[in-house]
């Protein structure tokens, strides 16, 4: 079943055309990796999918579980099961981590027609997920991402993902800034969330992440378009040869 279908997506940010007719299809249960040089439009793609303002979609369509994703405000995308793990998680002083988790989960549950969890069930659930992410319980009562290290912020993103249980997870450079131990924890967390009814799209610069989270498909994004797709061996080839050969190949075609 198609989870996400992007057709000929064209996006401007200010004066700049960032996505240039991008097409991509992701099925349920699949893990896709999107790689590409700096400025190729990787982060723009996931931000647009999550509903960030400041981008103008000039052409194309995005269908999520058969619905027009671009017509929904960000919160409705989240409630419908789209989750973005931010490259730079935002620090929000004065808002409790646990409060945000609870508000988010209840919004999602309400959308699914489920009752709100009571305090006990909620904490039981969160504690279990925190164990998975090897996070100390003290994180619950700290302000969202405030004073967190880079690794703690990324773990916190995956913790939120684990609690919200999205159908489509978009991971924006979740591996950047992580040391090898933190990377392993984050990757374990993501792997434990792989399911037949869930799709994961990872944006990354490095093949390293893909050693831990094995993708079904790898795409090269450059100049706002997918230039080449393949299986995980493509990532290894990119690691060895860089991106130029892909660009040349595409130009020749």
């Amino acid at each position: 079943m198609s989870m996400l279908k992007i057709e000929n997506l064209q996006v401007r940010a200010g004066d700049k055309q960032v996505l240039n007719g991008l097409s991509l299809e992701v099925g349920a249960g699949e893990v896709h990796a999107i790689m590409g040089p700096n400025g190729s439009g990787k982060s723009t793609l996931v931000q647009v999918l999550a509903g960030r303002e400041g981008y103008e979609v000039t052409a194309g369509s995005v269908s999520y579980q058969g619905r027009d994703l671009l017509a929904l405000p960000p919160e409705e995308r989240a409630r419908a099961g789209v989750f973005l793990a931010f490259q730079y998680p935002v620090e929000i002083p004065g808002v409790n981590n646990v409060y945000l988790l609870k508000a988010g989960l209840n919004a999602v549950r309400k959308h699914r027609g489920l009752p709100e969890l009571d305090a006990f069930d909620f904490l039981t659930l969160v504690r279990e997920k925190m164990k998975l992410m090897q996070m100390d319980e003290s994180f619950l009562n700290r302000a969202v991402n405030e004073g967190f290290s880079g690794g703690e912020k990324k773990r916190n993103e995956i913790l939120q993902m684990a609690v919200l249980e999205p159908a489509l997870a978009l991971l924006d450079e979740t591996d950047s800034g992580l040391d090898i131990d933190a990377l392993r924890v984050v990757a374990n967390g993501v792997n434990s969330l792989r399911r037949q009814d869930r799709a994961i799209v990872m944006v990354t610069h490095y093949q390293r992440l893909l050693e831990y989270i094995e993708p079904d498909r790898v795409h090269v994004l450059s100049g706002g378009r997918i230039l080449k797709s393949g299986d995980k061996s493509l990532a290894l080839e990119l690691e060895k040869r860089g991106y130029d050969w892909v660009k040349q190949e595409a130009a020749a075609a």
């Binding site: 509903g51 960000p74 919160e75 935002v90 004065g94 808002v95 409060y99």
Partner: protein
């Protein structure tokens, strides 16, 4: 007599003279003090924007109206009770500036303190009362305080005994009678915390009527050596009300005073909060939240006067202006020549929620000593778009996300509120104000 002179209205202050003569026809020492205060008020008139301290606040609307001194009136419990904060402390209710024993929860005197109405004090010990009023007039010349001095009827006089520490806050509610309009109330609060005593005093000005009334309140707070006073001032007057407050605080050696100035109500509100640190070790903490909405104009002018060495102060004001609301914060810090080793910190942070909103913030530092630490910072900004998107991407709708960020912005002030009932009340009010549950 020319037509022009006929149409000329008397100076605004003059209009209060007739009301004064009707209210206090007889003469005694206190009435003479009142009369002198009235003369000063009439001579000085309402402050104008030409005065630096009133640059951002225009009292023209207040000045052009005539408010009659409000008389004591019969009250119905139901109309007043709904505005009270439950379990906030020992409740004293003033309606139109007059103590209403039937609405108050105080019975017998409590150990460690003496609690009187100002009216009782003036009747039982007129000399002491007159001397106290005269003393405040000497040290704080100010036209609107003089207006209060001329017309005050009632209020609360709280004396906390040396070393005493009453276990409950004193919760003073100021309300208007149903349908009140064009009335003026000039209540006074006097708190004298003797050496090493502790107390918490909550002033709650609250209303929801459609009338146009004018509160002109004065609080005198004396914190003796080693004493600690927590002072809450929650201003939630009705939408068309005028509210002027004057708080004058003196803190002796090792004494501590904390103010929590929460301004949410009234059409026009101004607080003059003056503190003097008079002995080494004295500490003052001023926490404030100004949250104008609609066409509200909310102004807090604070002064922290470090008059002795080794004194410290910590000031944190937050402004949140929405719609066409206007906030004004002026934080004056004076460090006298002898006040070496002063440590003064001031922070003013402001949030503008709409294009029509405005906040004017100004630190004003006068430092005459050389060995001091003084810091200040002021920022004004809008809600963080990245934070808003982050919250929405987790499923919160835009209104809830905005309300949550506004609450978070106010948190550094809200979190200083000790009494749980009060903090819950304020959290609820803020959530409703910014539509968290709409």
């Amino acid at each position: 007599m020319s037509l022009v002179t006929l149409q000329e209205s008397p100076p605004p202050g003059e209009r209060y003279r007739a009301a004064f003569d009707a209210r206090w026809p007889a003469s005694n020492a206190l009435v003479e003090l009142r009369r002198a205060a009235l003369q000063r008020f009439v001579a000085a008139g309402f402050p104008t924007q030409r005065q630096e301290d009133w640059k951002y606040t225009n009292l023209r609307r207040l000045e052009t109206r005539t408010f009659a001194p409000a008389a004591s009136t019969a009250v119905a419990l139901g109309t007043h009770e709904q505005h009270w904060i439950a379990n906030a402390g020992i409740r004293i209710v003033l309606v139109n500036g007059h103590w209403m024993p039937a609405l108050s929860s105080i019975g017998a005197q409590l150990p460690g303190m003496t609690l009187l109405t100002l009216k009782q004090w003036c009747e039982h010990d007129p000399q002491a009362a007159a001397a106290f009023i005269a003393e405040t007039a000497r040290s704080q010349p100010n036209a609107l305080e003089d207006l209060n001095r001329a017309f005050f009827e009632d209020g609360v006089v709280l004396d906390v005994a040396a070393g005493a520490s009453p276990d409950q806050p004193i919760y003073i509610v100021h309300q208007w009678s149903e349908g009140a309009t064009q009335l003026m109330s000039n209540p006074r609060l006097i708190v004298r915390a003797a050496a090493n005593s502790r107390c918490t005093v909550i002033e709650h000005y609250v209303g929801s009527g459609a009338g146009e009334c004018f509160t002109n309140a004065v609080s005198e707070i004396q914190v003796a050596a080693g004493a600690r006073v927590e002072h809450y001032r929650i201003q939630q007057e009705a939408p068309r009300a005028f509210h002027i407050g004057h708080v004058n605080v003196r803190v002796q050696r090792d004494g501590q005073y904390a103010s929590h100035d929460i301004a949410l109500g009234a059409s026009l509100s101004r607080l003059n909060l003056g503190t003097i640190l008079q002995g080494p070790g004295a500490h003052v903490a001023l926490h404030g939240l100004l949250a104008p909405l609609a066409n509200q104009h909310l102004d807090s002018h604070t002064t922290i006067d470090h008059a002795a060495a080794h004194t410290s102060s910590d000031e944190n004001y937050r402004g949140i202006a929405g719609e066409r609301g206007r906030g004004v914060f002026n934080g004056k810090v004076i460090v006298r020549p002898d006040a070496q080793k002063t440590d003064a910190r001031q922070s003013s942070r402001n949030l503008l929620l709409a294009a029509g909103a405005e906040i004017d913030t100004k630190p004003e530092l006068e430092i005459y000593a050389n060995d001091v630490k003084c810091s200040h910072g002021a920022t004004t900004g809008q809600l963080d778009a990245a934070a808003l998107f982050y919250l929405r991407s987790r499923g919160l709708d835009e209104t809830a996300a905005r309300a949550l960020l506004i609450r978070a912005f106010a948190e550094s002030v809200v979190s200083t509120i000790g009494p749980q009932a009060l903090r819950c009340h304020l959290e609820k009010v803020l959530d409703q104000r910014y539509g968290m549950f709409s």
